[in-house]
């Protein structure tokens, strides 16, 4: 294996290792949940992409033919990371935010996470009732 190929693979490996570490360090370091959502979903995905690129170069240099397995894994991870992040953000909102904390959804329906009232809605400090959704307005809550 030529020196240039080794250098290229090593650079990709080191960069991806740093990105993966930064992702998990951000998960520990950042202050609240929605901030913590940023670090792993972006930095760690990029880190895995670097590992897969390094592996692709390695097997191309070693075996002489380009393998597409890594591209499949990369594509799958890059497709699923935003979906996962969206789901986790919705989970956080459903458990920690009340409806009046959010702006209007600008559509016929309310926000989808409030179709059913979240379990952990706290009573406000001043003793008013928690937000009860109007089924007619939010539409199809019991579907």
């Amino acid at each position: 294996m030529s020196f240039a190929a080794e250098l290229l693979i090593s650079i990709f490996l080191v960069i991806s290792g740093v990105f993966g570490f930064v992702g998990s360090f951000g998960l520990v370091k950042l202050k609240n949940s929605l901030q913590r959502l940023h670090a792993p979903t972006k930095a760690t995905t990029l880190g895995v992409g670097g590992v897969l690129v390094a592996s692709m170069i390695y097997f191309y240099v070693e075996k002489g033919h380009l393998s597409v397995h890594e591209l499949l894994i990369t594509l799958f991870l890059f497709l699923t990371a935003p979906i996962t992040a969206n789901f986790i953000a919705k989970t956080y909102m459903a458990r920690n935010l009340r409806k009046q904390d959010l702006p209007e959804s600008q559509s016929d329906y309310g926000w989808s996470i409030y179709d059913d009232p979240p379990e952990s809605v706290q009573l406000p400090e001043n003793g008013t009732e928690p937000v009860v959704l109007d089924p007619a307005k939010d539409g199809g809550a019991q579907s």
Partner: protein, 89 residues
């Protein structure tokens, strides 16, 4: 040189796994724990691919692909469960 880079990257992902584990233990909200679990899955995929490069065999890609799919499905299922109290409605 590749060997030392592999050592460095594997240690990075190992420490990252420990940090994720810490967040699973501490995380005040279920969203934090789900996020840490998802990050652990992604780190394990990286470690599997690194191991494949270290051993010079391509067989670990299948395992990495399977772990990626199972990880995504389990994260979504966990989020659905916390959101709706049910996975398949």
């Amino acid at each position: 040189m590749i060997e030392y880079a592999l050592y460095f990257t594997a240690s990075c992902y190992g420490i990252a796994l420990l940090l994720d584990l810490w967040r699973i233990g501490v995380g005040p909200d279920p969203a934090d724990r789900i996020l840490a679990l998802d990050t652990m899955v992604i780190n394990v995929i990286a470690l599997l691919v690194l191991y494949g490069v270290w051993r010079g065999t391509a067989i670990y890609f299948e395992a990495a692909m399977l772990v990626a799919m199972v990880g995504f499905v389990s994260t979504v299922a966990y989020c659905r469960f916390v959101l709706r109290g049910d996975i398949i409605e």
